[in-house]
């Protein structure tokens, strides 16, 4: 099982270590640093590293490395999932998962890690239960604590931990009972030079924010559940019910959680909301090139495409870029060679474009590769797959909750090759 955890920041300092079994020396991280050096880019550090006596399994999240040490044969996915859960918990407790936040709350962090893992076995990883055991820090509470001397550690047994629905605590009470669902769809796509789609799929999730008193039993039905054939559920969802009736039936955890995630991959269902016209060329034997891109709306179901950002990793020989946008603003970082164009909204009357010259290192050979464009966008009030929630029913409680569904479509890994 998981032996130890080291938190390492980008400059290579180990700023927190936790051992669940015997103490493992910090020097084990040297193997990690070695791999990090070899990988050049922080994102390219291999997640599983073997050392003479241990295995290091690491994740990279929010500019931090979570490096766990294991000694026996343990499913690596188990470790990686757990590490992400740790990062999620920090995010949940402190609002951000950063070195500063962790250092500011080191005692809570330690207590959390102690509760999450016992001798390497996961103990309590549900946010609902952890929050009962260890209260998250708030300004008010720390003030109250310092006056009254009370602590942020709960002194009762977390009730949910033992029931058949370990994700929900008992005795939840709200004055306003609300249930909100966000249907968020991300389009992952690769578009080739000529503008045709090489690959496209939709990664969708339904995130819920449920603040309901007591033990509500919810069922959520869809207008077109057939769309969902590849789904992963939160443990609260009754699988049998879904298999037979295609209805999501569940007793929800309290607060925010991801109800389901799904994937729609059949190509004809994935609409591509924008198109890009591009012409990027570097002249032979000259130290400049031309750069010209235009973005336009495609299948956007009559909604406005907004929040468009185009990011381009230019080749290394590019010194500078001299461009004029018809809309929005652009920046070019000469160190990382990343050009970012913040476009904003598309208005069909006047399509946004960005044109100009690229300065290259003189004498350097013409770059071989053409850069890919990475595009971000957002469409409010639309689930691009066409998924629609039909109704939400509540059983088991008497009150009438407020209900709401919000749809949004975003670009996921949306790349245009040039």
């Amino acid at each position: 099982m998981i032996h130890s955890l080291f938190l390492i920041n980008c400059s290579g300092d180990i700023f927190l270590e936790k051992h669940w079994k015997s103490v493992v020396s910090q020097s084990v991280c040297d193997y990690f640093f070695e791999a990090q050096e070899k990988a050049a880019d922080v994102e390219n550090v291999p997640p599983v590293i073997s050392t003479p006596h241990h295995y290091l399994i690491s994740i990279y999240r929010d500019k931090l490395f979570f490096v766990s040490v294991i000694q026996t044969e343990v499913p690596p996915l188990f470790v990686i999932e757990f590490l992400h859960r740790v990062a999620d918990t920090f995010q949940d407790y402190f609002g951000e998962c950063s070195e500063a936040a962790i250092k500011d709350n080191v005692v809570i962090v330690y207590e959390l890690l102690e509760e999450m893992l016992d001798n390497g076995f996961p103990l309590a990883t549900e946010s609902n239960i952890l929050k009962e055991l260890i209260k998250p820090p708030t300004i008010l509470r720390s003030v109250v604590n310092s006056i009254t001397g009370s602590s942020n550690v709960g002194d009762t047994l977390p009730t949910g931990q033992l029931s058949n629905i370990p994700w929900r605590r008992a005795g939840v009470k709200y004055t306003n009972n609300e249930a909100y669902f966000d249907v968020v769809e991300e389009i992952d796509a690769i578009i080739d030079k000529s503008g045709s789609t090489v690959f496209a799929e939709i990664q969708g999730v339904i995130d819920a924010c449920i603040k309901l008193s007591g033990m509500p039993d919810l069922s959520l039905s869809f207008m077109n559940p057939r769309l969902l054939d590849d789904v992963s559920f939160h443990p609260c969802v009754r699988f049998k019910r879904w298999e037979s009736e295609r209805v999501l039936s569940f007793i929800p955890p309290d607060g925010n959680f991801r109800l389901i995630s799904y994937r729609v991959s059949s190509q004809n269902l994935v609409a591509i909301p924008v198109y890009v016209k591009h012409s990027i060329s570097f002249k032979e034997n000259s130290s400049c090139g031309r750069f010209d891109i235009t973005i336009g709306p495609k299948q956007n179901m009559g909604k406005t495409v907004e929040g468009i950002t185009v990011t381009v990793h230019m080749p290394k020989v590019v010194l500078n870029m001299n461009l004029t946008p018809t809309q929005g603003s652009y920046t070019f970082d000469p160190v990382t060679k990343v050009m970012t164009w913040d476009v904003g909204k598309i208005t069909p009357q006047k399509l946004p474009s960005l044109k100009g010259l690229v300065n290259l290192q003189s004498g350097a050979p013409r770059p071989e590769e053409n850069p890919s464009l990475n595009i971000q966008f957002k469409i409010q009030q639309l689930a691009i797959s066409g998924l629609k929630v039909n109704r939400l029913d509540m059983y088991g409680e008497k009150y009438k909750p407020f209900k709401g569904v919000k749809y949004i479509t975003k670009a996921g890994k949306f790349q245009v090759r040039t």
Binding site: A39, T72, V106, I190, Q203
Partner: protein
Amino acid sequence: MTDSKYFTTTKKGEIFELKAELNSDKKEKKKEAVKKVIASMTVGKDVSALFPDVVNCMQTDNLELKKLVYLYLMNYAKSQPDMAIMAVNTFVKDCEDPNPLIRALAVRTMGCIRVDKITEYLCEPLRKCLKDEDPYVRKTAAVCVAKLHDINAQLVEDQGFLDTLKDLISDSNPMVVANAVAALSEIAESHPSSNLLDLNPQSINKLLTALNECTEWGQIFILDCLADYAPKDDREAQSICERVTPRLSHANSAVVLSAVKVLMKFMEMLSKDLDYYSTLLKKLAPPLVTLLSAEPELQYVALRNINLIVQKRPEILKHEMKVFFVKYNDPIYVKLEKLDIMIRLASQANIAQVLAELKEYATEVDVDFVRKAVRAIGRCAIKVEQSAERCVSTLLDLIQTKVSYVVQEAVVVIKDIFRKYPNKYESVIATLCENLDSLDEPEARAAMTWIVGEYAERIDNADELLEGFLEGFHDESTQVQLQLLTAIVKLFLKKPTETQGLVQQVLSLATQDSDNPDLRDRGYIYWRLLSTDPVAAKEVVLAEKPLISEETDLIEPTLLDELICYIGTLASVYHKPPSAFVEGGRGVVLKSLPPRTASSESTESPETTPAGVPTGEQPDAIPAQGDLLGDLLNLDLGPPASGPPLPASSVQMAAVDLLGGGLDSLIGGPNFAAPPAAAAPANVGAAMGSGLSDLFDLTSGVGTLSGSYVAPKAVWLPAMKAKGLEISGTFTRQVGSISMDLQLTNKALQVMTDFAIQFNRNSFGLAPAAPLQIHAPLSPNQTVEISLPLSTVGSVMKMEPLNNLQVAVKNNIDVFYFSTLYPLHILFVEDGKMDRQMFLATWKDIPSENEAQFQIRDCPLSADAASGRLQSSNIFTVARRNVEGQDMLYQSLKLTNGIWVLAELRVQPGNPSFTLSLKCRAPEVSRHVYQAYETILKN
């Protein structure tokens, strides 16, 4: 107000200050001080000096303070064992606390204090907690047993905690079950032989029920445990699969992958015709694809596993090629894995898409990735024949880019394409030659040299090109030097007139100026070949090379099957069995896929153990090769000599022969980095092989009818131990001749040739009477049956047990050793019938201490039937007598080495038990004769 202030106290006297604060009367101040101590501890500062002061804070009602002190204790108890004892009382008291949270916390913390003295005190509270009324305490205690086991395994066993833990598997609470399974699995890992998780259908049912209700982590433990279970038939396997399938929709990817493991393993038992089988296949694809939308680290592990799954069951993901397309901002480790899987999924149907993608990748920035993409194009050409042309033209396009590393990779893969499709694409050689100067990597240079040598007759200036390479001979890497040597010799054999100078130059460079023994040896061999017999040299050097196939980069089937059992584990990430990397000390249980058993069959034939081989006599590969070496050196591994024992001088011959094997391969083909070839003559071989085996089948069939009893074939040498060669066999005797019927199966990926067999000296001088004649190479998955005649004139050495036979089998891959036990009745000769008078005299003559008596139970034969059956195995009834209703059979037999054995067999009608008395001048054979009797009579 944040905790970061705890990090800022770095001034001198810090410890002293903290000490004062810890001993303060004010609760608040105490707590703050403990917090500061913990903060220092987390950054690795040594605050162990404060141990007594912190422990003093332990007896408190404040839960947070208690927890903090516990945290501290866990970290430092080891360095202060004597002090830690002070804390024991509080622990014991806390284990009795009315609040289950405190009870659990206490037992949890105690388990983490790795001090022997403390663990003794832990036993009683732990025992109580294991039976606590609160499941939260029970589940915590279950893990505590694993902790304790880690510290003191003996103590856990003595105290009977393991049994209590096993009982917890039937607990009513699913979390307790899950934790008990997790703890038992961990303990079992350090005791591979102990059968801790003794699973039966009832406990499986409990686990499956708990599976639905426990936490995600518990589900992982339970699924991993289920994967080790062997269902008794396909029906049970299917019902487990049905109950595991819903886990594929879990949000936790580790749960999904563990479920995939269970399904992949149990699917093996299902018949492919079942509707359920194809449903299951369909259900497996979406969750695997979904894993790829997770974080990159998860993707990586998932991809490594998908790589295995795709090799085992390509049908699952054959339509999902596109999800493996690479995005430019994927981390490099994800890109490389995706690429690998793309090639595995490439087929005629999707090759156009794949090639277009690969070409795109070949213009990316990342050098490693580009190289691999270029290689991938070559692999596609080799895998999908129809696409070869397109691949070659794509590679030529890439060569035109003149990017150095792209060109070099392209040259390397084009060499492989030439080896797969000879005489098809040689037109591109000209283009390759143009780029000769840009090659600076050894592998590319070696590949180019090979191409020039191989096609020397088509390249007008081949001699100039090679001469160019030769100038810097000493600066080249060994790989290139070896290649250059071979290429120039080839060139010489093809165009002898104009290249004599060149070949002499390279031979002298290789033999005189080089320190590398490989190079020198190869040089000498060529030299000698060329000087003694140029025709032979031509035959050897320019021999037709076997084609390479795409299978060369697949994982060996036996290893793949093993790895499938380890889906989701580290083994699956490394693609190595755990035995290859798990640290010594902890043994590893070998896992294997379950065989396909239909429920109906298994109920009808409960006994499948080979009847002829009593248990305990299972042949095993000889474990210690070291002590055998002396004997085996005596063995001639070439064609075995028939006839009298080998003269002493054969030792030297053997040595030469051993070397010969190595040299063959050295001369035969270029020593390429490309994996060894396979498949060319496979079809021919298969046809011939099966024809031969038919013939042999016939003979062995006759043998069973007229000769002595033949035991069914048993596996003598498992494929795992012999690099893919599996040997099973049995011994027969018919009409005076003994033979060894062998069945050789090639479970490796490469063709096996050059078989030879030799026996170690043995008790009865058994030796092969003819060489092992396997005429055609044995291609992968092919089986050949062969009957090896044996003589008994080999050299004799007494073995223990007497009928032990140690065998060495050689093929082109290696030499393998195994030992087997032969049934003694193959040595019973036909003229073993003794005269009555003689029998009586001999019986009296042999001292009575040489008499041995045995019982043959459960043998319902009549005296006549027994006599008849024994006779056909050359045990002759000399006389027969009826005493008080019992049949007494007096029998004689003679062994090949002239030893007589006399027997008295007492048969009582109605009693299935026979009594056998044996008399022999060499009493050590008696036991084996008895075994022969038993074998013959019972079959």
